[in-house]
Amino acid sequence: MTNLSLADLAGYLRQLGEGALVTLELFLASFALAFGLGVLIGVATLARGRLIRAAWRVYASIFMGVPSLLVIFLIFYGGSAMLGAVLGEFGARIDISPFGAGVAALGIVYSAYVAELVRGAIENLPKGQFEGARALAIPPLVMWGRVILPQVMRLALPGLVNVWSFMLKETPLVSLAGLQDLVASAKIAAGATKEPFLFFVATALVFIAFSAASLWLATRLEIRLDRGQRRDPARTPARAEA
């Protein structure tokens, strides 16, 4: 069936490996941005102000109601003009790379989901945690950093794992803006060798393997973060999401 020589295959594999690294970098950078931005937005919009709540609703509604691909294209095509409007003459001359557009778009879109999770987790925390911190005169920054957010992370972890694996499956979209990632390399290899089946199945398996590995890690992390909560460490988490 296959008409590939071993040397050819090695060459394509190297190219695919390089693409995979790009995909991994893109994914980790986007997730870091989404996570940081999401936690900030989640904490900031908890305030009672009506204006802030309305702004959060609009933000969440927009980015949860629009395809990521559209946001990627918007930032890729229109990013220079947007920067120009904000930063003036200097900003307009910055060229947006596919990688930058991808990180910005995925980061912004998924920050809405992360913020949602963080908000939910904070609101589910017992009020006594805030009152106790205040009664002990713990400064706000320490309260958030050492008391509230660690508990929030434990509560939000299953949701964050979902965001993680869902976002992973959306990273290939950036290849449509011209990024030479794993999927783009696979497409080139598939076209050149006339073996599309082989390369696309292999690419799919890479994603599945990465997803499975990170899920395994997440389960371990979940058990560890829960160690103060439950007496039975061998408890299997009820969540079996992929």
């Binding site: 959060w56 609703r57 969440a60 509604s61 927009i62 949860m64 109601g65 629009v66 395809p67 990521s68 691909l69 559209l70 294209f73 918007l74 095509y77 229109g78 003009a81 120009g84 409007a85 989901y113 949602e116 999770l117 908000r119 939910g120 609101e123 589910n124 949701g159 979902n162 965001v163 869902f166 992973l168 499956k169 959306e170 990273t171 290939p172 979209l173 290849s175 449509l176 999927v183 696979a186 497409k187 598939a190 076209g191 006339k194 073996e195 599309p196 089946f197 696309f200 199945v201 690419t203 799919a204 994603f207 599945i208 997803s211 499975a212 999401e241 992929a242």
Partner: protein, 252 residues
């Protein structure tokens, strides 16, 4: 550059084309949703079966079609299956030879894999005692499934189903890679003609947003109708869900 980056004249002009793109997007949403749902039932039964010979293939199906990015599935069906000689000469080439057929196959398989998990989770959420009680009453297994388990499972799984449908609609935006002119592709082609990076894409965004929110409202009404026998409980459930955010939106 004016304050609003939208050119109203261009937006007005491109409305008919965008509407046509929207129709394609809706078509590519509805058909795979139906096919995927129909596929999900037998696969879900196989997945929940005690026989390994049935459960393992079903599980493999779910892991593959749920774990692989949709873009790769689309490439796989569009480019990969054409490689198979038997398929190219067989009767199914009508489906696999056209971009629409390929997109529908890829989207349906992806949706089916997600729906298997949604269904399974919902069916497992039905309290076992209710099923046992029905068995004790001598109700046949088929009737238990149709009239006891499914009605409850639909209520338990409605939120997960909504999330899957919403993310599925957004996922259809990639079909332009196999030359289908859906909403996203129309916006892109207008951009390529005019080099206006904002107007067409923001208009398409508004269309997607409207479509997604129509679906959300539809699900909300459906949920209220399903819970009509117990308004109080529905209100309480909605309150309990409220801390999870504006609409309880999560990823499937």
């Amino acid at each position: 550059m004016n304050a609003l980056p939208i050119d109203p004249a261009l937006a007005w002009e491109s409305l008919p084309a965008l509407f046509q793109g929207l129709q394609v997007t809706v078509f590519l949403t509805v058909l795979p949703l139906l096919i995927g749902l129909a596929l999900a039932f037998p696969i879900c039964f196989a997945r929940m079966s005690a026989r390994r010979g049935l459960a393992l293939p079903a599980e493999t199906f779910v892991v593959f079609f749920r774990g692989a990015p949709l873009l790769i599935l689309l490439y796989l069906v569009y480019y990969g299956l054409g490689q198979i000689e038997a398929l190219r000469n067989g009767p199914f080439w009508i489906v696999f030879g056209s971009p629409f057929g390929c997109a529908i196959v890829a989207l349906s398989l992806n949706h089916a894999a997600y729906m298997v998990e949604v269904l399974r989770g919902s069916l497992l959420a039905v309290p076992h005692g209710i099923v046992e009680a029905s068995e004790a009453l001598g109700i046949t297994r088929r009737n238990i499934f149709l009239w006891v388990r499914m009605p409850l499972a639909i209520r338990y799984g409605l939120k997960a189903y909504q999330n899957e449908v919403v993310s599925f609609i957004k996922g259809t935006a990639i079909v332009s890679v196999v030359t289908i002119t859906d909403l996203m592709a129309v916006a892109n082609s207008i951009f390529e003609q005019t080099y206006d990076p904002f107007t067409p894409i923001l208009c398409a965004a508004a269309f997607y947003w409207a479509l997604v929110n129509v679906v959300r409202i539809g699900f909300a009404l459906w949920g209220r109708w399903l819970g009509r026998h117990n308004e109080d409980e529905a209100v309480r459930a909605a309150r309990a869900q409220a801390p999870l955010g504006i609409s309880g939106e999560v990823l499937p």
